[in-house]
């Protein structure tokens, strides 16, 4: 049972700044750089040699993405926030692609709490910025509404927004990866039990791991990952637009 190893991201290398402060670069960071590089190359490939009259499928895909994203932002946030489209698209693409990495057996950066906490903090900063646009004191006064006794609860609910967003995304992806790890371990021990009589290396080969986890992987990695990316982006849009509407 030593093979069951449920931990966070693997620490690839450490950069010591001072004795007590060490920057740990983990698999999560490296994998998100891989995702960013992949998305960068995808952008370059899709937008190469654009023509006014679309000739290639690549251009059609690029136009489809841009149009869909613009429509989504326009529907949920209104024309005023159309500048948010690249941000929302980046959020969605990064989240979805990071979650989809686990389909290839790589560590998905979204299973790391820090990644999603970072995104939530950006969203929280944006929400607060749009709430403060009406005036700093008005923003502070908003906490004492409707009566002053409720101030602590208002503060908690304000902080609960990014926290709930973080844990929703993290919990979904992480539960998926934990369950997948358990299933893989269970299948490995089951195949060791059934095929243990085979000679040599074949005895240790986990036959059951071929094909069977696909169904679960399709649900947890693909459906869950894409759904959570969509929901994270939707909630971001809703929170930001409702924050701006308040003043």
């Amino acid at each position: 049972m030593d093979s069951i190893n449920i931990t966070g991201a693997r620490i690839l290398f450490e950069i010591p700044v001072t004795d007590s402060f060490v920057i740990k670069i983990t698999q999560a960071q490296v994998n998100s750089w891989i995702v960013i590089l992949f998305l960068f190359i995808l952008c370059k490939v899709l937008t190469r040699n654009l023509k006014v009259k679309p000739e290639s499928k690549r251009q059609l895909i690029a136009e489809f993405i841009v149009e869909k994203a613009t429509n989504l932002v326009n529907e949920n946030m209104g024309q005023k926030f159309i500048g948010f489209t690249p941000f929302i698209t980046a959020l969605m693409a990064l989240s979805a692609c990071s979650s989809l990495l686990s389909v290839f057996g790589m560590y998905s950066p979204t299973a790391d709490l820090n990644t999603i906490l970072g995104w939530s903090i950006i969203v929280f900063i944006l929400i607060t910025y749009y709430k403060m646009k009406g005036g700093f004191f008005k923003y502070l006064k908003g906490f004492t509404q409707p009566i002053a006794v409720l101030t602590p609860f208002n503060i908690i609910s304000e902080i609960a927004t990014p926290v709930s967003m973080t844990f929703r995304h993290f919990g979904n992806i992480c539960s998926g990866s934990v369950i997948m790890t358990l299933v893989y371990a269970a299948l490995a021990s089951a195949s060791a039990l059934v095929f243990g009589w085979l000679p040599g290396a074949l005895a240790k080969f986990p036959f059951f791991q071929v094909g069977i986890p696909l169904v679960l992987s399709a649900y947890f990695d693909m459906f869950g990952g894409i759904l959570q990316a969509f929901i994270f982006a939707m909630l971001t849009m809703l929170y930001i637009s409702s924050a701006a509407e308040e003043d």
């Binding site: 709930s164 844990f167 929703r168 919990g171 934990v178 759904l227 969509f230 929901i231 909630l235």
Partner: protein
């Protein structure tokens, strides 16, 4: 040794209890999906809107369950190490 066993057992029991929080979202989401099915049955042309709204609502309703899950994870993987290190 006994302290280790007690800590591990208490963590596991706590994690199991924390996952009771999964009941609430389960019921709530089932109810929401049922209502969404009713809505789609009444107005099949609104399928896309109803589905996306339902998914969003389900995601929000899921939050408490996810909180329970995170607490269970903390109890299983973080707290034992924390306490065992002090022993």
């Amino acid at each position: 040794m006994l302290e280790r066993a007690i800590i591990l057992a208490a963590s596991a029991i706590g994690a199991g209890l924390a996952m009771i929080a999964g009941i609430g979202p389960g019921i709530g989401e089932g109810y929401a999906v049922g209502k969404a099915c009713e809505a789609i049955g009444r107005q099949p042309e609104c399928k896309g809107t109803v589905t996306s709204t339902m998914l969003l609502g389900c995601a929000v309703a899921e939050t408490t369950g996810i909180y329970g899950f995170v607490v269970a994870l903390l109890l299983l993987f973080v707290t034992p190490n924390m306490f065992l290190g002090k022993l």
